[in-house]
């Protein structure tokens, strides 16, 4: 069994004050039903500054829905969600739009605008703000370089492979230096090599910009790659942490049957005696 690294002092997870003050995202007893089925039941957690939270769970357990709740794309039936300290459960859409501009979201199927070039997709937020074309070009090039796709600048999304589309989606999410990134299964449906590239980009974003993030996945291998690796600036690649070490700012949540079954560190997850978790991790 790997040994944990020394824990980094962080604000208490369930401190209600942290919900409003410094937490980028906080759920308080959030519930959501679709018809007779309760998809999420009294979900509470607090994402702390600089933290990456990996959300695990079986397919259809509401992981993507939780992510959409996080930036107000879906409204909860009850409970409250604090995004950058502001309650958004019943916030009017125009005010929510302003808050969403501070977040970046990577969708499961990329959700690129098919009729626009990669340049216009990645630079969407800048175009919306009326920034000059020259500045947009420069910043889009920089964002595309981050995901190693500078050559795709003028291409249209339908001509890109699945992995390239996902990387463009990451570039679109990070171009405006968001204060929170939401990744919805960024490696879903990709081959192992491309998945590794995407994982490397997520780790790079985490370690270079230290942006708080929630990453939804049902692939344990990807999740453990995240906690056992760091980004190395010198080699510009992801390298493993020393044997038995985990990234202290990357934690886990497990969603099961509408409940948050687990919320804690890697070592707590690995030492859990919950039968479902043991089965899930096996």
């Amino acid at each position: 069994m790997p040994q944990a690294t020394d824990p980094v002092p962080l604000p208490a997870v369930n401190d209600p004050a942290a919900c409003v003050s410094d937490s980028p995202l906080c759920f308080r007893s959030v519930s959501l039903s679709f018809g007779p089925r309760t998809l999420l039941d009294a979900i509470s957690f607090t994402l702390r500054p600089g933290e990456t939270r990996i959300l695990l769970g079986l397919a259809g357990m509401g992981k993507s829905t939780l992510l959409k709740l996080a930036n107000g794309l879906i409204r909860p039936d009850s409970g409250e969600i604090f995004l950058f300290g502001q309650p958004i459960a019943s916030m009017p859409e125009p005010a929510l739009l302003d808050l969403r501009r501070r977040t970046g979201m990577v969708f499961q199927e990329s959700a690129l605008f098919d009729s626009l070039t990669v340049r216009d997709n990645v630079g969407w937020q800048l175009i919306e703000r009326g920034i000059s074309g020259e500045t947009i070009d420069r910043r889009v090039h920089r964002a595309l370089s981050f995901v190693d796709l500078d050559h795709a600048f003028s291409l249209f999304p339908p001509s890109l492979s699945g992995g390239m589309r996902r990387r463009v989606s990451i570039a679109r999410a990070i171009i405006d230096k968001p204060d929170l990134i939401l990744y919805d299964s960024p490696t879903g449906g990709l081959d192992p090599v491309t998945s590794h590239t995407i994982n490397q980009l997520v780790v790079k974003e985490r370690d270079v910009y230290k942006t708080p993030a929630i990453l939804v996945t049902h692939r344990l291998q990807d999740a453990f790659t995240m906690v056992t690796h760091r980004f190395d600036h010198d080699t510009n690649a992801m390298v493993p942490l020393p044997q038995g070490s985990f990234d202290p700012l990357t934690r886990f949540m497990v969603l099961h049957n509408g409940h948050l079954l687990f919320d804690g560190s890697t070592e707590e997850l690995l030492s859990s005696d919950d039968p479902f978790l043991q089965d899930f991790l096996a």
């Binding site: 739009l97 501009r101 979201m105 969708f107 959700a111 605008f113 098919d114 969407w124 919306e128 679109r172």
Partner: protein, 269 residues
């Protein structure tokens, strides 16, 4: 409860559900329209999208409107000349064609043609964006899809349908003139004189008010069905069909209402 009462109870419950669902849809559509209209007066304004949509909807529809207008005017002249000849009143062919075209046929036929071409296009385009999460992505990027996608389409359709109706009026009258002169062998000057003298202010007002309403119906129904698409690609197909059917029926229904109101406002002398 007696077994014989069961079917009646089930029927009543189903009827209740259907009526409730229908009323909810009407309410949702009304709120959708109100939001689309309110956005006209709110920033940001997407002028480039308005011009792009005007080009797609307006310029793209010119050929079908030209052909429809010209041949409708022609067939009106053909039919009316034959009937009027029985009473020795062929000289009134121009009057008959211009009144029919400008009051009714040009606005309605242009509306139906543009509806078939563009309400379906809007529903399928926006519906595809919904099912591929592009609308969610737009919202996640801080852009209001109602302002970016719906309001520009609404403004463009209202403006270009007005202009396309004027084109259809002109081409319809010209088509009637071609038939009157080359087939019925009437005097061209007499045709145009009769067509011009028959028209009064209320006819023009009636003919040019209708496309404004029809344009609004086409855009809002097309966008509404697109934005409310569910059920994947099959749902996109369903939305597209419904958009054309509903907008066409509403065009004909509102034509009746507008005609009734116009006749009340401007009673025939």
């Amino acid at each position: 409860m007696k077994a014989s009462h069961m079917p009646r109870v089930l029927l009543t419950e189903n009827f209740d559900k259907t009526v409730r669902r229908w009323l909810m849809t009407v309410q949702d559509y009304a709120l959708f329209c109100a939001q689309a209209v309110t956005n006209v007066f709110r920033s940001p304004h997407y002028w480039s999208d308005i011009f792009t949509q005007s080009d797609l909807i307006g310029v793209g529809s010119v050929p079908i409107v030209v052909l429809t207008g010209f041949f409708t005017g022609g067939v009106l002249a053909l039919q009316s000349a034959a009937s009027l000849a029985q009473f020795g009143a062929q000289a009134y062919t121009g009057r008959f064609v211009s009144l029919s075209m400008i009051r009714e046929l040009a606005p309605v036929l242009t509306g139906l043609m543009v509806s078939g071409r563009n309400a379906s296009g809007m529903a399928s385009e926006l519906g595809s964006m919904v099912v591929t999460e592009q609308i969610d992505a737009m919202r996640a990027l801080g852009t209001d899809p109602m302002k970016k996608l719906v309001t520009p389409r609404m403004i463009s359709t209202v403006v270009v349908l007005f202009l396309l109706t004027v084109v259809a009026d002109t081409l319809g009258t010209a088509g009637g003139a071609s038939v009157a002169v080359f087939i019925s062998h009437l005097d061209g000057a007499q045709y145009f004189s009769s067509a011009y003298q028959a028209l009064v202010f209320s006819d023009i007002i009636q003919g040019l008010t209708k496309p404004l309403v029809f344009g609004f119906i086409i855009a809002t129904i097309g966008c509404y069905k697109g934005m409310r698409t569910t059920g994947g690609t099959q749902g996109v197909g369903r939305s597209t069909t419904q958009a054309v059917v509903i907008s066409s029926v509403l065009i004909i229904f509102s034509d009746f209402l507008i005609s009734r109101v116009m006749l009340w406002l401007f009673p025939p002398l």
